[in-house]
């Protein structure tokens, strides 16, 4: 019988739930609170250990990274033959470890990204700050333009790829700079 180890969310006491049925309740033996658990088949059917890659024989294509192993597939990114050890499923494609590492560095795989900076939000907030404190906008507007243009192609949030904040920030910063230009022209003209 599979067991699920957990801690009470209230007092932290270590508890165990037997995987008898998908919906289970257990009372904490220390604080008495009733913990509800939704159990799923993965608990009783652990992930099978990956089978060892088959050894290659003469006349069979070998893996690029492990020449003595039989090739089981082709990397969708570089086209090299790969064995089952090297075959990594990512975003519906098969990739070899080299392409995976390269893709991770170049932000090609969205599923591997753990952190992103919202440059568009930063640029937009800077542009709004320039509107609120207009005297500072002479300094803030160029910074806003720099951030917007420098990070235009940087991947945004995984939730939304819309660049409307960059567009609005550029428009506002340009207006602020134009305002300063007009003000300077008027002052110099006077």
């Amino acid at each position: 019988m599979a067991l699920l180890d957990l801690n009470c969310g209230n007092c932290g006491t270590a508890l165990q739930i037997e995987a008898r049925q998908p919906e289970t309740r257990v009372a904490c033996r220390r604080c008495g609170r009733m913990i509800e658990a939704l159990l799923f088949p993965r608990l009783v059917q652990p992930v099978p250990a990956s089978e060892a890659a088959g050894l290659g024989s003469e006349g069979e294509a070998g893996c690029f990274n492990h020449p003595d192993k039989r090739a089981e597939g082709v990397c969708d990114l570089c086209g090299r033959f790969i064995c089952s050890l090297c075959e990594i499923d990512i975003e519906g494609r098969k990739a070899c470890p080299n392409c995976l590492e390269g893709g991770r560095k170049k932000h090609k795989f969205k599923d591997l990204e753990r952190e992103r900076t919202r440059w568009d939000v930063l640029a937009f907030n800077l542009a709004l700050l320039g509107l609120l404190i207009f005297y500072l906008s002479m300094l803030i507007a160029p910074v806003t333009l720099y951030v917007s243009l420098r990070h235009w192609n940087t991947p945004l949030s995984v939730l939304s790829a819309s660049r409307w904040r960059f567009v609005a920030a550029i428009a506002l910063a340009t207006l602020q700079l134009a305002g300063w230009g007009v003000a300077l022209a008027v002052m110099l003209g006077a």
Partner: protein
Amino acid sequence: MPAKPYRRLPGRSLISNERKIVHQGRQEFYLGGDHLLVLDRQGGYTERYKRFHYSDIQALTLCPSPLWWRRSLLAALLAGLLMHPVLWMGPDWIELGYVLFACGLPLLLFSAANLLPGPGVVCKVHTQVQTETLRAIGRRRAATRALALLRERIEAAQGAWPSESLDSEERPGAG
């Protein structure tokens, strides 16, 4: 127009440090095509992602938490402490009465607003290698709605509960 890759689930929470004093950001979570995305917005400009593939999730657990009513009680007590002298103050002290009332009212409002969403819970997602608290689900009402959607996806990915794991009394036709 392409379908959105993520669907937001009910629930949103501030992320606190270990002692629950300093708020460091906000947590939300989303249903993706094959995974649950937990998103921590930190400092306003950084997003941190954690992905739990539906096929890896072993269990979801819910435990009632007393934190919600404790917070409300504390806020109500402080509000009462600040506001009760107003009842006894004479007309000479009316200005001080206004100040105390203005200080206590936000606490009273917080206390009431904290009670409205209902009982608090601690929700955790368990996989073979880790257990993560879903801080975005802090209330029973949000948890019920979110877990129903999540359960649907997980069951679609993992299939039905294996019949050999059921208790003998649960098994249909068992003597």
